[in-house]
């Protein structure tokens, strides 16, 4: 499963993409895993998770071939 990181999340994760083998189950479980791996992400103002280029809720289930993106606080415009 491919995870993409952007902005400050990319710095905190030490790279733009990561392949993981364990299945996170839901988006909420993925968030828990994320904080365990990179505790500094807890300090961010807000982290959203996108599944297949759409913002996801914590209840949403993640499938094997989903594209997961870690979206730190936005600052476009």
């Amino acid at each position: 499963m491919k995870i993409m990181f952007f902005g400050i999340a990319k710095e905190l994760a030490g790279g733009a993409t990561l392949e993981i083998t364990e299945k996170p189950g839901t988006v909420g479980q993925f968030r828990e895993w994320l904080i365990r791996q990179y505790p500094a992400m807890r300090e961010l103002r807000k982290v959203m998770i996108a599944v297949n280029k759409t913002y996801a809720t914590d209840e949403q289930t993640i499938a094997d071939d989903d594209e997961i993106a870690v979206i730190p606080p936005l600052s476009g415009g």
Binding site: M4, F6, G7, I8, E11, E43, L44, R45, A50, K53, T54, Y55, A69, I71, P72, P73, L74, S75, G76, G77
Partner: protein
């Protein structure tokens, strides 16, 4: 109800305006965002913009769609720049054409407000003494 949605290295304001103008519309409202030379009094050397491009395009398309649903507007262009930008350079341009100007003002303001909330784009501010990702921390 046509839209022009792009992520580019260099903004062409005229392209957005020309795209939305038509003999059937009476007014065009544009918002152009530029790099400010300071943040809270601290000189900014440059900005660096990064995007999750395919998702950013989808979110920008949603904004145009929502504007078409909420206001009587004819055409919308949303163009955002990525990469390095110096103070004074253009970062984003939004142009909205409508038969009546009130709708164009409302839709344009909605588009830039929503873009800042939903479009996956990030900027890093470079100061004399280092760089920070804008708005990352509380």
């Amino acid at each position: 109800m046509e839209s022009l949605i792009k992520i580019v290295s260099d903004i062409q304001t005229e392209e957005a305006i020309r795209f939305v103008e038509s003999p059937g519309s009476g007014g065009v409202v544009t918002f152009i965002g530029t790099v400010r030379n300071q943040t809270k009094g601290k000189p900014v050397l440059k900005l660096f913009f990064e995007s999750y491009e395919p998702m950013a395009i989808l979110e920008m398309e949603k904004i145009a769609q929502q504007a078409f649903e909420q206001w009587d507007v004819q055409r919308i262009a949303i163009i955002h720049a990525i990469g390095e930008k110096l103070p004074g350079e253009e970062v984003v341009v939004i142009a909205v054409a409508a038969p009546h100007r009130g709708a164009a003002f409302s839709a344009c303001q909605y588009a830039i407000d929503t873009l800042k909330e939903t479009v996956p784009i990030w900027k890093q501010e470079f100061f004399e003494d280092g760089a920070v990702w804008v708005a990352a921390h509380p």
